[in-house]
């Protein structure tokens, strides 16, 4: 077709004429303003964390603290005055639960996903249907039901009760299942001819090939369990088991009688956001894939 001259590669060339200059500038200004609306809350949060209570109240919008102070972070790390906020305990609980849940999920998701994608066994179709049905159950409906089960099993208000129910996640199984289906079968068959059993093939041949999918599932699991709130809310009671989410939520929603303490609250929220934010900026591509994966329900 039009192969005369190519200043840009075919994929870069715009199909439509560009906007006239004034419209383009106006468009950029509007877009920039919009992007600011998305970023501003985080910037305000960051600057407020370095303000004193009075300054946060009198200058809620200023992005540069007049007298920056790290009092909030001293308090949160427990080195300042005896703080009312057991932030380090929240952090420890969140870390523990997230690490165990993420490891467990990666293992169970890939095993179950592999079985559903590749292994022929009786009940496979029924199981797949069950999985889809499970994904349709809205988590919020399970608040009281989950409490009932944990209570009956005697694991209410314990790490077991916090961790074990989160290990099983239908969406992750689906991501793995669909990835395994995309791997060419020949590799596994070659290994089988060499005499490897299913377990060996899975562990030594298939899993090493699955790095991209494993990374996606790891990140989604990490993000999901780090940000998890409702499950911890109904599976625990004592403050010993508070995580960053339940601890912060109780502190924020019930913080009466101690002033507003907004710098402290926003600082705690900021610190609790950092791990996921770091992962996000390092592995953005995988998060983007995860966002699209979450929307797929076969």
């Amino acid at each position: 077709m039009r192969t005369t001259e190519k200043p840009l590669s075919t994929d870069e060339r715009p199909v439509l004429a560009r906007f006239p200059r004034p419209a383009r500038l106006a468009g950029y200004a509007l877009l920039l303003g919009f992007a600011l609306l998305y970023a501003l809350p985080f910037l305000v949060q960051l600057s407020t964390s370095f303000k004193t209570d009075p300054e946060a109240a009198s200058h809620p919008l200023s992005l540069l603290p007049q007298a920056p102070t790290t009092a909030v972070f001293d308090k949160l790390s427990g080195s300042g005055e005896a703080g009312s906020v057991p932030f380090m305990r929240w952090l420890g609980n969140s870390t523990l639960v997230t690490v165990v849940v993420t490891l467990g999920r990666v293992l169970f998701d890939s095993a179950a996903g592999y079985a559903l994608a590749r292994l022929r066994f009786r009940g496979r179709v029924v199981l797949t249907a069950f999985l889809i049905a499970v994904m349709a159950v809205p988590p919020v409906v399970l608040l009281i039901p989950k409490f009932l089960v944990l209570n009956t099993l005697g694991i209410f208000d314990s790490y077991t009760g916090m961790i074990v129910p989160l290990l099983f996640d239908a969406a992750g199984i689906f991501i793995m299942k669909q990835f395994f289906e995309s791997i060419p079968r020949e590799v596994e068959e070659a290994a089988r001819i060499d005499g490897a059993g299913v377990g060996r093939i899975f562990w030594y041949v298939v899993l090493p090939m699955s790095r991209p999918a494993l990374i996606t599932v790891t990140l989604l699991s990490f993000q999901g369990s780090w940000n998890e709130f409702t499950h911890f809310l109904v599976s625990t009671q004592s403050s010993d088991y508070e995580t960053l989410t339940t601890g912060l939520a109780r502190f924020v929603s019930g913080g009466l009688g101690q002033g507003t303490q907004y710098p402290l609250k926003l600082g705690a929220a900021l610190l609790s956001t950092i791990p996921v934010a770091v992962l996000f900026f390092c592995f953005q591509r995988h998060f983007i894939r995860g966002a699209n994966a979450g929307s797929v329900k076969e």
Binding site: F108, A111, V140, V141, L143, L148, S182, L248, S272, R289
Partner: protein, 359 residues
């Protein structure tokens, strides 16, 4: 053998923590249970359908609380879903332009709120929307006196009508006297409360990025020849939008809308942080009401019954989604291709997808 070995943890786990809870809760919703004794013994106080009756059919506190929470959530859904969908679509089309500078920066900025913890961002919004907070400061620059967001339980509709002088305060008379499910019509029609509007803004802000990415993936799957053909035919921007983009995006539009419908009926975390139903129950939602009946009032039977009513609502939404999505498979060649292209895991065509998504 290997198959069952591989799936057994998942079967046991999902059975134990997804299927069993629903059965147990179905039983408990027929009980009067305070969370103390064992509800699975013959001594349990079996009350039949009383919990459902008091919620749906009998005048009383339970009924008017449920009605209020449904009213609140309906308005939350009606505003959040269209706004977030339209915004996500606009952002996706904008960010998809090949000549746009800083595309990936913009995409990151719009998407970032979606990956953060709902509790953390709700905390930030609580600060931003205080009476003398950042939002009202900004509003005052353009001469608007912002409301006291979290203390204001007035319905937005009456506030607006009052501002233009059609009603005074809020209408009374027939609207105030006649009731539906124990709630006067004047309450049903009031629209979301001012406080609820902050939750709506929060939802739009946090979810539009995710939906933008879903739209973006679909836009990048539109065959380039289609756009080029349209451009060669001399089609303008608006024309391409209407006759190329929108038809191609239709299945994804359905998907995003129904995903939004399902998610907005489950709003909970933000309610917990930003008001727990206050002011005047105007941010109460069925999910929070169910939780609060169980864990604050120790009326787990009543709470479980609300869960099931909510489950019914969400399943209807899911059913609508399934129905609408089934439709897409039988229409037009292009649309079918798009449907499979978006339904397939991006992981499957790794290289190409990731490469495109990354520029």
């Amino acid at each position: 053998m290997w198959g069952w070995l591989f799936v057994s943890p998942m079967v046991v786990g999902l059975g134990l923590f997804m299927a069993l809870p629903i059965l147990m809760a179905a039983w408990v919703s027929l009980l009067n249970w305070d969370g103390q004794s064992n509800p699975f013994t013959p001594d349990a106080d079996f009350v039949g359908l009383d919990n459902y009756r008091s919620l749906l059919a009998e005048e009383g506190l339970a009924q008017s609380l449920l009605a209020t929470s449904l009213r609140n959530n309906v308005y939350y859904v009606l505003l959040t879903v269209p706004i977030q969908t339209a915004l996500a679509l606009t952002l996706a089309i904008t960010v998809n332009q090949r000549m746009l500078r800083g595309r990936s920066m913009l995409r990151t900025t719009f998407y970032f709120p979606s990956v953060t913890s709902s509790i953390a961002v709700a905390t930030v919004f609580l600060f931003l929307f205080q009476g003398s907070g950042a939002v009202n400061r900004m509003l005052s620059w353009i001469g608007i006196k912002g409301p006291n967001w979290f203390q204001d339980s007035r319905g937005v509709l009456w506030v607006l009508l009052d501002a233009v002088g059609i009603v005074d305060g809020r209408p009374d008379g027939a609207l105030g006297e006649h009731r539906l499910m124990g709630l006067p019509w004047v309450e049903w029609l009031a629209g979301p409360s001012v406080a609820m509007c902050t939750l709506i803004l929060l939802a739009v802000w946090t979810t539009s990025g995710t939906f933008m990415l879903i739209f973006l993936a679909a836009l990048q799957n539109i065959p380039r020849e289609l756009e080029e053909a349209a451009a060669l035919d001399g089609a303008g921007r608006r024309h391409v939008l209407r006759h190329v983009y929108l038809p191609a995006l239709r299945p994804v539009l359905f998907l995003v809308t129904t995903l939004g419908l399902i998610a907005t009926w489950q709003v909970f975390d933000q309610v917990y942080v930003m008001g727990q139903g206050d002011p005047a129950n105007s941010t109460l939602t069925p999910a929070f009401l169910s939780y609060s009946y169980g864990f604050d009032n120790a009326e787990f039977g009543q709470g479980a019954a609300i869960s099931f009513i909510l489950l019914g609502i969400v399943l209807v939404m899911t059913g609508i989604q399934r129905f609408l999505l089934r439709e897409r498979g039988v229409r037009g060649q292009l649309r079918r291709r798009l449907a499979t292209a978006t339904a397939r895991q991006p992981a499957a065509d790794e290289g190409k997808e990731a490469h495109r998504a990354h520029n």
